[in-house]
Amino acid sequence: MYDYRAGIRDWMGAGLPTEGSNARHPRLADLARADVPTCSLDERLGDVSDRVRAAGWDACVVVSRDRVVLGLLRARELGADPDLPAERAMRPGPSTYRPSVSAARMREIMADRHLDSSPVTTSDGKLVGLVRKQDVDLAGS
């Protein structure tokens, strides 16, 4: 017999599928955009900004080598001095949300905190994707 001590919270925190009545409602695991651009701390902001715009985005997540979220560059930060390293321009330690959070709950959070986008991470901080307000709003309409 095996004991999965970390339990269902760990399972859901990793964005793995579940069954049950809640599984019918959209969660951040369904809405997070995994194709959000990422960069490292030492990348030149101008290079990051060019790459992000070319990909059709206005945000970039700064991650470590193992994809742990370190910071966030939104449009304002991406427009800063292009010679700065990403580390100097980013918003460090952004609030992150687990893939198991429901779209309905995230809609409340984003409204309360005036967020346009937020990183979604596993319980060990690794990037799953970026959830955007428009996607959360659409999921609830």
Binding site: M1, D3, Y4, G7, I8, W11, P17, T18, E19, G20
Partner: protein
């Protein structure tokens, strides 16, 4: 004696046909449970387990978390 297993281990065991047991109350099980898990709430597990489980397949037991 149960051996502790992590998430990756649970996924491997599930691929091998393990029986996954959710010991949370039925209401919580109804809301969310691991794929294919059966519900044996702790208060009933001793009475129900023998009849419900296949002794030839691995068994994984979980609840909400460490608490």
């Amino acid at each position: 004696m149960a051996r502790e297993v992590d998430r990756a281990g649970v996924r491997r065991l599930m691929e091998q046909g393990a029986q996954v047991i959710d010991v949370l109350p039925a209401r919580e099980y109804g809301e969310d449970h691991l794929p294919g898990a059966v519900n044996l709430p702790l208060r009933k597990i001793e009475a129900d387990a023998l009849g419900a489980l296949d002794p030839d397949r691995p068994i994984v037991v979980y609840c909400a978390d460490y608490a």
